[in-house]
């Protein structure tokens, strides 16, 4: 009987040990991403971000180490540095006077998704231009 108990306990420890090994493997540090010229061409950074020598994983946090499998980072990702939609609207407060602040638009307020206009790895667009294509050049510069 006591031999059976010992065996059971040993079995439990064995199972736990194997589990911890599997768990340990998934926690192993990611391979550092080497940004090859090809990768840079495929996923170029905007000049203001490139100047800061940002690394892929600063934005694509917890998304593994294969850039081709990275996902969009969403508003939360952008705002982890850029603070809040209200904050970026405040930075363009002078445009409020003529109701043309894109971050506090007369139609939507400070609620738009960042990627309605801003892209990182491809050219940005200007959603305002969908209706105001003839006016926006007067109000604002190209979307960064």
């Amino acid at each position: 009987m006591s031999g059976g108990k010992t065996l059971a306990i040993a079995g439990v420890f064995l199972v736990l040990g194997v589990m911890s090994l599997i768990g340990g493997e998934s926690d192993s540090p990611l391979k550092p991403i080497v940004i090859t010229p090809e990768l840079r061409e495929e996923y170029p950074l905007k000049s203001h971000h490139a100047k800061l020598s940002l690394e892929c994983v600063f934005c694509h946090e917890g998304q593994g180490d294969n850039p081709r499998e990275f996902k969009m980072i969403g508003d939360e990702g952008c705002l982890s540095c850029h603070q809040s939609k209200e904050h970026v609207a405040e930075r363009l407060a002078f445009m409020d006077k003529l109701h043309v602040n894109p971050h506090n638009s007369i139609h939507d307020g400070p609620t738009l998704y960042c990627d309605e206009c801003h892209n990182e790895h491809k050219p940005s667009t200007n959603m305002c231009a969908e209706c105001h294509e003839h006016d926006i050049d007067l109000w604002m510069g190209p979307t960064p």
Binding site: K51, F58, S80, C81, R91, L92, K97, L98, L138, M140
Partner: protein, 206 residues
């Protein structure tokens, strides 16, 4: 007799040394704030934006950094005095003889890493690497900043902290010089309010 002369000479030397230090200290100290700098330096919008910033006395503590805290090198006293003297001459010359209207302030903001000195920031924010009030992303970026120090990719505090010290700088600059033609002449009231605010602030001795 010789001893007395030596003692007298020593005393005079100490006096002159202390006096010289005092004059230098007072001279540097009294020429370090916005009230002095704005006399020659074209910077009304910058000072106005600074007055609404935590660094201009609007923070919880009411602490006020002076212009030179951030805009002069603090690595050694000779470099500090040299840079200050050079700036004084250049700014004075531009103020009296240059074409002030031709200054492109918006474009100059891109050079902020050259006129904001990190050693000034860090002399107050000495715990930027360990301060628990900084968000995890902020801490990650500060580690990144440290890793780039001394490399050809080195960045400065102002690389990311774009309007630091001057809250709403881009907006106030637009009151003076609109970035786009459409706004031309539309901010006269705002500009007037800024000018009035500056006069009042200086009257109050802020």
């Amino acid at each position: 007799m010789k001893k007395r002369i030596l003692i007298a000479a020593g005393a005079i030397g100490v006096f002159l040394g202390l006096f010289g230090s005092w004059v230098t200290y007072e001279g540097l100290h009294r020429t370090s704030d916005d009230k002095f700098c704005i006399v020659c330096h074209e910077m009304a919008p910058m000072v106005s934006a600074y007055h609404t910033d935590p660094h201009g006395g609007q923070g919880e503590s009411g602490f006020k950094a002076s212009c030179v805290s951030c805009h002069m090198p603090h690595d050694n006293v000779f470099n500090y005095i040299y840079t200050k003297a050079k700036n004084g001459v250049v700014e004075g010359a531009i103020h009296f003889f240059g074409d002030v209207d031709a200054i492109d302030w918006h474009a100059n903001r891109k050079n902020r890493d050259k006129f904001v000195y990190d050693d000034g920031c860090i002399s107050c924010h000495s715990n930027y690497k360990t301060n628990a009030f900084i968000s995890p992303k902020g801490q990650q970026m500060h580690t990144h900043y440290d890793a780039l120090l001394g490399t050809d990719k080195q960045i400065g505090c102002a690389s990311c902290h774009v309007e630091v010290g001057h809250k709403g700088l881009r907006t106030v600059l637009n009151y003076y010089k609109p970035e786009y033609e459409y706004y031309e002449g539309k901010f006269d009231a705002e500009k007037e309010a800024v000018e009035k605010g500056l006069i009042e602030a200086f009257k109050k001795g802020e």
